[in-house]
Amino acid sequence: MTTDTTTKDTTPGAPTPGTTVLDARGVTMRFGGLTAVNGVDLTVNSGEIVGLIGPNGAGKTTFFNCLTGLYTPTEGEVRYKDQVLPAKSFKVTAAGIARTFQNIRLFANMTVLENVLVGRHTRTKEGFWSAVLRGPGFHKAEATSRERAMELLEFVGLAEKAGHLARNLPYGEQRKLEIARALASEPGLLLLDEPTAGMNPQETRATEELVFAIRDQGIAVLVIEHDMRFIFNLCDRVAVLVQGEKLIEGDSTTVQGDERVIAAYLGEPLANDPGATEAAEVEAAEAHAQADTTTDTAAGKENDR
């Protein structure tokens, strides 16, 4: 796995020393007897992009949900800017952590602009009476919200589609819209859950640029991703989660070079050089399979009908 040494990597590897935005200490999450996340520590500093990787089922999303208030950790605590996070997801957002979802969760039947306006919910106050009575304050707040929402759409490149229904956007743009919606809540920390899943290389590249641009606005970013190239290009630090525990944390090179990480992804090599026997076994199995294919395919076709 080679890294593209982009301009970013050549800049001083150490992140600009910022204040600690997110501080998770000993987060443990148990579901009955299953420990999905076990004593994970993670800090994210302002102006930093941190990656979280790990094989499927490693507990990344569970950990994410602990950070966003969807789950309350069984043990440990999560602090955001020195405040312990409340246990309700809407309060977490109000505190300043915004997130996107692994499987896109837009408000499909609202327009692009309305989606972003919903994201502004925590930063506006106008309640029911204000809406019905429509005083000057209401119009002002509404105008500000719309202006800010349009700025964000401009930022992610969706300004022209403000009037479209979210459901009619192509996949890549839906991802962008989800990010814009999250940014609308003016977060100090943005959590991205697999932002490039299902994207082609160009779109991935564009997302990368977008995340850098978000970082440049001073927003800390925590990314879960499977795309290694993407994550090693992007992140200042990468933490690896395996079977609910944090294996290692460090910059791209450290993590990529670590044998345990490779082992976690590719499996351990067997103790006594297994090459020859293994190969023979495989060959035999293949030959056996070949013999079966003729009958199998015929049977398969029958079943297809």
Binding site: N109, T111, H121, F138
Partner: protein, 607 residues
């Protein structure tokens, strides 16, 4: 306005010569349809039957009466659309989306009304002998017009390739499916372009004209004196509306009204306020005020169901709470409190009682989602009714007088204006129910205002977001429970508001008025049906739905016991063919008809 190029999938240009459903040459068909329409008009001036035993006077040569007027309108529509399809100057504006489909529907409307009339005469009077030549002529010319219209060419859909393995039943199904596609294509219409921006006075004049037509149609429908006329009215109005829709007129009118929303809403209220002045008899104002009560409550329910997506099956209880609360404090002799509040105070008491009841029910139940909420609200609706029934002094405290209810609620006097008495305004006598009609109209206006303003605001967006995806809405910082509780409470308070007037209109408030399902609206099932039928999330939808659901059972007394059956059947059909409701929310239209007929771009708000 960013217009998208409408993707009209070109239906197989390879099929070659477009033909009609019937093998008559198209030019002949067009002539037949137009001429048939013209002759239909003439035929309505003839006598259709010899005796006045059939209601409405159809025995007179020289002017049309009763059902003939409807046929005359249908014939006129057919002729106009026919002429427009020839490209006659000055009539082309009638059919911005192409005249052929409109012509078909107009011909169908005329045909159906005429043949319904002819059959009704012969069945009721016992045989075809009761028909005068005029009726035969009308029947024949309308049939000719219809056949002519059906012969007009249209784009046939490409037949699905037939799988050679298909046999028997599945093949027949396949063929039938294709036949149905063809028929659908025959009645399909093109997409009208956006309306040119006219000077605003002209657009306002158009809005006034549209509202005048609506008021006329509505007044005529309410005023129909016998079953046959009402059925004829439904047939003509239904197909006529379809014809106008296919002609693209409705779409264009919608565009114009969307540009002047505020004016349209004001205009609609003025038109509604004019309704009592068109009536000579308080009888129809009675229907009017009941429709308004029903429609207002349905509109309140639309906030809960249409915007916030909370399925409330016990909504009528809030109307009941408001009505009981107002009745109890309005000086009724059967009220144990013996107080007589002025109207404004009674209104506040009613709305506040409903609001509190709404919060009490909502607080524990709104943590549930979907089906569970529906079941719990259904239960609470019944609990209200039974509780009220039992508070009669024997089974419980003596408050509501049990099944006898609170009776003899006195008429209102507002600022010295006695709503129970007749008044002469502008030379028109305005009776008791007309007075209440005006009062109720104000309440409706309040509900419309609340609906409109709240839906286009932070709270309204939060409601829709909760409906769309609750988890994502929570992750966006929306306090789901609080926002849902507000929707529930607002809906309850609005229903209570309507209830305060209802208590005075009906004199008596009894538990039996607030059932889950019954034959007379409003009840929870009918309220929900009015919302779904009319169109969720819109203002016009529940109003129209409520009007239809009130008028149809009220007018078609002969349906009797089959009324609910027919009603259920109609709902099933509607949900099959127009799931977004009669007046669709643009959003919901997009949801159900992915690309075909809906615009891809919404306006600035879209609510």
């Amino acid at each position: 306005m960013t217009t998208q190029t409408t993707e009209k999938t070109p239906n197989t240009p390879a099929t070659g010569a477009a033909t009609g459903l019937i093998g008559i040459p198209p030019h002949l068909g067009r002539a037949l349809a137009t001429g048939g329409g013209l002759l239909t008009i003439v035929s309505t001036f003839l006598a259709w039957t010899w005796t006045a035993a059939f209601p409405g006077d159809l025995t007179v040569y020289g002017y049309p009466g009763g059902l003939q007027v409807l046929v005359l309108i249908g014939g006129a529509l057919t002729t106009l659309f026919g002429l427009s399809s020839y490209g006659v100057k000055g009539l082309r504006w009638l059919t911005p989306a192409g005249a052929d489909a409109a012509l078909r529907f107009a011909a169908l409307a005329t045909f159906a009304t005429t043949w319904y009339t002819v059959l009704a005469i012969s069945l009721q009077l016992g045989g075809l002998v009761n028909l005068e030549p005029g009726a035969y002529i009308a029947a024949i010319v309308t049939l000719t017009a219809l056949l002519g219209a059906l012969a007009l060419p249209f784009e046939h859909p490409a037949p699905d390739p037939i799988d050679p393995d298909e046999t028997g039943w599945s093949l027949a199904k396949h063929r039938a499916g294709h036949g149905w596609q063809t028929v659908k294509a025959a009645f399909a219409a093109g997409e009208p372009g956006p309306v040119r921006a006219l000077p605003s006075y002209a657009e306002i004049l158009i809005i006034v004209a549209v509202l005048a037509v609506c008021l006329t149609v509505f007044t005529y429908g309410i005023g129909t004196e016998y079953d046959e006329l009402f059925v004829g009215f439904l047939i003509t109005a239904g197909f006529g509306f379809a014809a106008a829709h296919k002609a693209g007129l409705i779409r264009q009118a919608t565009q114009i009204t969307a540009r002047h929303q505020t004016i349209t809403i004001w205009g609609a209220f003025v038109a509604a306020a004019l309704f009592p002045f068109t009536q000579t008899d308080d009888q129809y104002a009675t229907i009017g005020v009941y429709i308004l009560i029903f429609a207002t409550v349905a509109l309140g329910l639309n906030i809960v169901v249409g915007l916030a997506g909370l399925l409330d099956l016990g909504y009528v209880a809030f109307l009941g709470v408001g009505a009981y609360a107002a009745a109890l404090v309005s000086g009724s002799p059967s009220s144990p409190f013996g107080v007589h509040f002025p109207f404004w105070a009674a209104v506040l008491v009613g709305a506040a009682a409903s609001l509190i009841f709404g919060v009490l029910i909502g607080a524990p139940t709104l943590r549930l989602r979907g089906d569970y909420l529906a079941i719990v609200t259904l239960g609470f609706g019944e609990i209200f009714r039974i509780a009220v029934l039992n508070m009669d002094g024997t089974s419980g405290p003596d408050i509501t007088n049990g099944s006898n209810g609170i009776s003899a609620v006195p008429d209102l006097k507002i600022l010295g204006f006695d709503l129970g008495a007749r008044h002469d305004i502008l030379g028109v006598t305005i009776g008791r129910f007309a007075n209440y009609f005006f009062l109720m109209l104000i309440i409706t206006a309040v509900v419309v205002l609340v609906f409109r303003r709240s839906s286009d605001s932070r709270i309204g967006r939060a409601w829709v977001a909760i409906r769309e995806d609750e988890t994502a809405a929570l992750a966006m910082g929306i306090n789901g429970f609080r926002v849902k509780l507000i929707a529930f409470a607002v809906g309850a308070a609005l229903a209570g508001l309507a209830g305060t007037v209802q208590a005075h209109v009906t004199y008596t408030v009894t538990p039996e008025q607030y059932l889950f399902a019954g034959t007379t609206p409003p009840n929870s099932a009918f309220l929900l049906a009015a919302v779904v039928l009319g169109g969720m999330g819109t203002i016009g939808g529940p109003l129209l739905g409520a009007a239809l659901l009130f008028l149809i059972p009220n007018k078609l007394q002969f349906l009797g016991d089959y009324q609910l059956l027919a009603f259920g059947l109609a709902l099933v059909l509607l949900m099959r063919f127009r799931p977004e409701g009669l007046i669709p929310n643009r959003r919901r239209q997009l949801e159900f008809h992915d690309k075909a007929e809906a615009p891809a771009v919404l306006g600035k708000t879209g609510a």
